[in-house]
């Protein structure tokens, strides 16, 4: 729908037509047209000045999701690499990274391609409003329902998807982990768990030391034992023995006395036994108390899910944009693991949010080799976007090496300054420290309006060539715009090249023409694109990449025993032993009350939480949810009139339940303010029953000039969960935005 209006944006009044330099204060809207040479010279000289004063890593590139145009967007990585600039993160910063995946499987994310839902006998959409937010793929879910497969939607909101499924399951916001664990409880009690599968492929049979909560290792038992060999209990010989992946010989449950190498004896318990013990806390009656779902429904859902194999779960940002989103994700994965659904076509947990997946190995393009044949590469110095906006935390990983105040922001698309959480900190604390903001843009976005220099970039219709991939399907696509660059627009690639030339790194950056970059990407792209060359791609346009399963499903080889998992234990790790997991009591999936959005004890497990009150909740008793709409891709298309006019009254609206409005003496159409201690947003009110009592919803993406006052993201702050900081691997393990975990109050404006 949105793509059909792209011509309006290409030729629209909002285009950036030529390079512009700010005159007057930032954000005032006064610009001076300059030539490309002036612009490039100015930016290069400023970067040189900042690099000399603060070091090159104080220049920080904010890259948009590379898979959308691997040449165009990926060039930002290359640009940062060859100049040793800083680089930000996107996937975890947006809140799209399901941290439960690296935690359980040590992968960034592995999902089934959407078409695989056809192989399912039972389908749960868990906090994923497919109908509204995955428009191109939603029909697969509607089709599978038309065929007679039961589809379930889990969400507190009566979203468009809720009216397009067989069953809508409502729960208190932020209690999804409790529901998943409650279903696990029922499945275990009814003897429906797949114990052999658990024994073969998960951390279930591994022994955990009762004294320190760590995995028992061979090195604990023998002085020549290996640290990376884990121990199971062999019931035949009644001795501890080295774990063999895929073996069914080990004991899955039980506690055993084990003699260590120093002669002392300790008690160890299988991690599955520990999990079963944890599950005792999640009986249907308790889960019903936590979630508000009737006990009978919890039992029925569990039985339905466990008895219709394969059963798939499609999880979305609804259970990921939370401070404890990793726990929700881990609980949902545990449900899929217990029933043997992981690794099976038609099963699995597929958390697609964001177009992050590159079905090509981009390393040689992003981080070029210093010398052919040698291993050394040019690399940027990463700094998570969350810290750039928020400042560092006490618990930040590798803080001494990585933290520095950023002095130049090159926001390469993504509308960073318009879409970022915690707008007040960003505008009033962070940006004043930044001496140069460069905004290469197609349109005059909120980001461009706050920049010091704006560079005109070609629209997608003018892009000479690029390649795109997605988690949704297994194809690599050739992208070629139909028109020549308009106005004075240049490609991102050329702009980077020209700056590099001025910084003396042009020869290393090398690419000015996208075709050359595509050839390089395909040549070095690895097994997935083996056999696909530029000529073939240009001719065929869309080519299926090589993959071990079709439709693509995650971990099909691992659960057949052909491969092991990439984790430390080579198994699916429901149990985690890192110190911080132990410190926070999160070795196993559990439900913790939301960090902010709860009436009970914050971040506490239920037994404790129910005894406490959240005092913030008394001041701000409404859940605040700013989220995707069908009418925009984040902030893209929000200013396109054809689309905007179809979005109700075509302006930002605060949406709430009529009951809450009546309690505050508010009527539909009133100007109202949603506020909390962090910020506020002023907009007119829309009342509808789809929003549960006790919540406020705003469909986001509006550009700053479209908002009457405040900002929808000024109510969200960047709250960083220390679990997310155990490691820092850009876009794989880092602070995941939890911006659904927020409260507010609403009053008449």
């Amino acid at each position: 729908m949105k793509g059909q209006t792209y011509h309006k944006r290409t030729y629209g009044p909002n285009r950036v037509k030529y390079p512009m330099k700010r005159v007057g204060a930032r954000g005032q809207g006064h610009w001076k047209r300059i030539s490309w040479d002036e612009a490039l010279d100015f930016v290069a000289s400023e970067i040189k000045r900042i690099s000399a004063k603060y070091g090159s890593k104080a220049v920080w590139i904010y890259p948009p999701v590379p898979a959308t145009g691997i040449v165009k967007q990926g060039a930002g990585f290359r640009f940062a690499s060859v100049n040793k600039f800083g680089i930000g993160t996107f996937y975890n910063w947006y809140g799209d990274l399901p941290l439960a995946h690296p935690i359980t499987w040590n992968v960034q994310t592995e999902e089934h391609e959407i078409m695989d839902v056809q192989n399912s006998k039972y389908v749960i959409m868990w906090g994923s409003d497919m109908v509204q937010t995955r428009i191109p793929d939603a029909h697969f879910f509607m089709d599978v329902r038309a065929k007679g497969v039961k589809t379930v939607y889990i969400s507190p909101y009566f979203d468009p998807t809720a009216s397009a499924v067989d069953e809508w399951v409502r729960l208190r916001p932020g209690t999804d982990a409790a529901l998943a664990l409650g279903m696990c409880h029922v499945i275990v009690k009814k003897g429906m768990s797949k114990d052999n599968y658990i024994k073969r492929t998960t951390s279930g049979p591994l022994l955990i030391r009762d004294d320190n909560g760590k995995y028992l290792r061979e090195s604990d038992l023998k002085s020549d034992g290996k640290k990376k060999t884990f121990i199971v209990w062999d019931p035949a010989s009644k001795t501890p023995s080295a774990d063999k992946y895929f073996s069914e010989a080990a004991a899955l449950t039980g506690s055993f006395d084990v003699t260590l190498k120093d002669g002392s004896t300790i008690s160890c318990t299988t991690s599955h036994s520990l999990f079963l013990k944890k599950l005792e806390e999640y009986d249907p009656a308790t889960v019903s108390q936590i979630t508000g779902i009737p006990e009978a429904d919890i039992e029925r859902l569990a039985v339905e899910y466990a008895s219709n194999a394969p059963a798939s779960i499609w999880s979305g940002t609804g259970i990921n944009h939370w401070y404890h989103g990793d726990l929700m994700g881990r609980a949902v994965i545990a449900l899929s693991v217990l029933t043997g659904n992981v690794g099976v076509n038609g099963g699995g947990v597929s958390p697609w949010a964001g177009q992050y997946k590159m079905r090509i190995r981009p390393v040689d393009y992003f981080f070029p080799l210093k010398e052919k044949g040698k291993k050394a590469r040019y690399r940027p110095v990463p700094l998570d976007t969350a810290y750039v906006v928020n400042g560092p935390t006490e618990t930040m990983a590798n803080k001494e090496k990585l933290w520095r105040q950023v002095r130049c922001i090159w926001a390469a698309g993504g509308n960073l300054l318009g879409q970022s959480s915690d707008q007040n900190t960003l505008l009033h604390k962070t940006l004043p420290e930044v001496e140069l903001i460069v905004s290469p843009e197609i349109e005059m976005s909120s980001n461009a309006q706050l920049a010091d220099i704006v560079l005109p970039i070609v629209s997608w219709y003018e892009l000479p060539a690029d390649i795109a991939t997605t988690p949704a399907h297994p194809y690599i696509q050739y992208v070629e715009g139909p028109v020549k660059p308009l106005y004075e627009a240049k490609t991102d690639l050329e702009v980077y090249y020209e700056i590099c030339k001025r910084l003396g790194t042009g020869d290393i950056f090398k690419f000015k023409e996208p075709e050359e970059a595509i050839k390089h990407l395909l040549d070095t792209g690895g097994a997935q694109v083996k056999g696909i060359n530029f000529e073939r791609l240009k001719k065929e346009r869309v080519i299926k990449v090589n993959s071990p399963s079709s439709p693509i499903a995650a971990f099909t080889e691992e659960i057949k025993g052909v491969k092991t998992f990439k984790t430390m234990t080579k198994r699916q790790e429901l149990y985690k032993e890192e110190d911080r997991f132990i410190e926070y009591g999160e070795q196993l999936p559990t439900h913790k009350e939301p960090q902010t959005a709860t009436p009970y004890g914050r971040s506490m497990e239920w037994g404790e939480a129910k005894k406490h009150k959240n005092h913030e909740f008394e001041k701000y008793p409404l859940y605040y949810l700013s989220r995707h709409t069908r009418w925009s891709v984040h902030s893209s298309w929000r200013t396109e009139d054809l689309v905007r006019k179809l979005d109700d009254v075509g302006e930002p609206l605060l949406e709430m339940n009529p009951l809450d409005a009546a309690n505050r003496d508010l009527n539909a159409g009133d100007w109202a303010i949603a506020y909390n201690q962090h910020g506020y947003m002023k907009a007119r009110l829309k009342l509808r029953e789809s929003v549960p009592p006790g919540a406020v919803l705003i469909y986001f993406g509006w550009q700053r000039e479209q908002i009457k006052d405040g900002h929808w993201n000024s109510l969200n702050r960047v709250a960083i969960n220390p679990i997310h900081e155990i490691y820092f691997k850009p876009n794989v393990w880092g602070p995941v935005s939890g911006h659904f975990d927020e409260l507010c109050e609403v009053k008449k404006a």
Partner: protein, 287 residues
């Protein structure tokens, strides 16, 4: 729809207008995403000109509250065309007992169109494919058709002073293609074809609801292997107006039956005892 009913509606050439084909559509409302891709495909193709700013030949509304155009005594001709998608996603009921459904509506290209005989200058005609068209050279802007159409699917262009309406993309049909709203449908909810052809996919799917819920069958001419249609009643929207619409809908399963009756004339099961005929006196919905 029973075989008997199909025979009655489509088993012979149109008794009044003589067309031997009647193009129509079948839309599965269980699958509609409310994404408006049809609306925009139509709009950017046909109604992107002056005087057409609020004109949507194809509209999609969230029922029960969404309506386009809306009745408004203060608006010109009593119809308000602004904010065509007002009340989007506003369900009926009290949380959590709620229902809503999306209703996509182009012109119905009725077998007995109410607009056609209402035109004093005989500018409206039904072509060989059963498509209802306005000859803009003959239209003198009397707007009687707008008053006559019970579906409010004829629009008056204030700039050209002519009535305009959905033309079922007949230039595309003549090229062997499907209309824009069908081609572009992301949810794949629309089946297009000749209702009078007993072997067309559409007429078979309407007569036998079980057919669409089966796996890909080349005989049904489904265009994607993953495509299914819900096994539920096929009805026309407001068949009680008596114009025999050529748009058929597969009823949404999540809407209470008594509510569906209001929209899809459940009591009549799609069967019209006495279709409106041009000989009878016109019943204007508004005076």
């Amino acid at each position: 729809m029973s075989e008997e009913l199909w025979q009655k509606y489509y088993g012979q050439p149109n008794p009044i207008y003589g067309n031997k084909r009647q193009y129509g559509m079948l839309l599965d409302l269980n699958k509609c995403l409310g994404c408006h891709t049809c609306t925009i495909a139509c709009k950017t193709t046909w109604t992107d000109g002056p005087g057409q700013e609020n004109m949507y030949w194809n509209s999609v509304n969230t029922k029960p509250y969404g309506e386009y155009p809306r009745q408004d005594a203060n608006a010109p001709d009593g119809l308000d065309y602004e904010n065509s998608n007002l009340y989007q996603d506003v369900p009926k009921g009290v949380y959590p007992d709620l229902w809503q459904f999306y209703l996509p509506r182009p012109c119905n290209h009725c077998s007995r169109p109410a607009c056609l005989p209402a035109c004093p200058t005989q500018a409206i005609y039904k072509n060989d494919d059963g498509i209802v068209l306005i000859d803009e050279d003959l239209c003198q802007g009397y707007k009687n058709c707008i008053k006559a159409c019970p579906y409010d699917k004829i629009y008056f262009n204030q700039v050209t002073k002519k009535s305009q309406k959905c033309i079922m993309c007949f230039p595309l049909i003549e090229k062997g293609e499907e209309p824009q709203c069908v081609k572009s449908c992301v949810g794949k909810i629309r089946v297009f074809g000749d209702l009078m052809d007993p072997n067309s996919a559409i007429s078979r799917l309407i007569r036998d609801p079980s057919l669409g819920a089966k796996a890909y069958d080349p005989e049904i001419q489904f265009k994607a292997v993953t495509r299914y249609m819900t096994d539920a009643d096929r009805r026309q929207y407001r068949a009680d107006f008596g114009t025999i619409p050529s748009l058929w809908y597969i009823l949404p399963k999540n809407v209470p039956e008594e509510e569906l009756e209001k929209y899809f004339g459940g009591a009549m099961r799609g069967l019209i005892g006495q279709p409106h005929t041009p000989e009878a006196r016109l019943k204007y919905k508004k005076t």
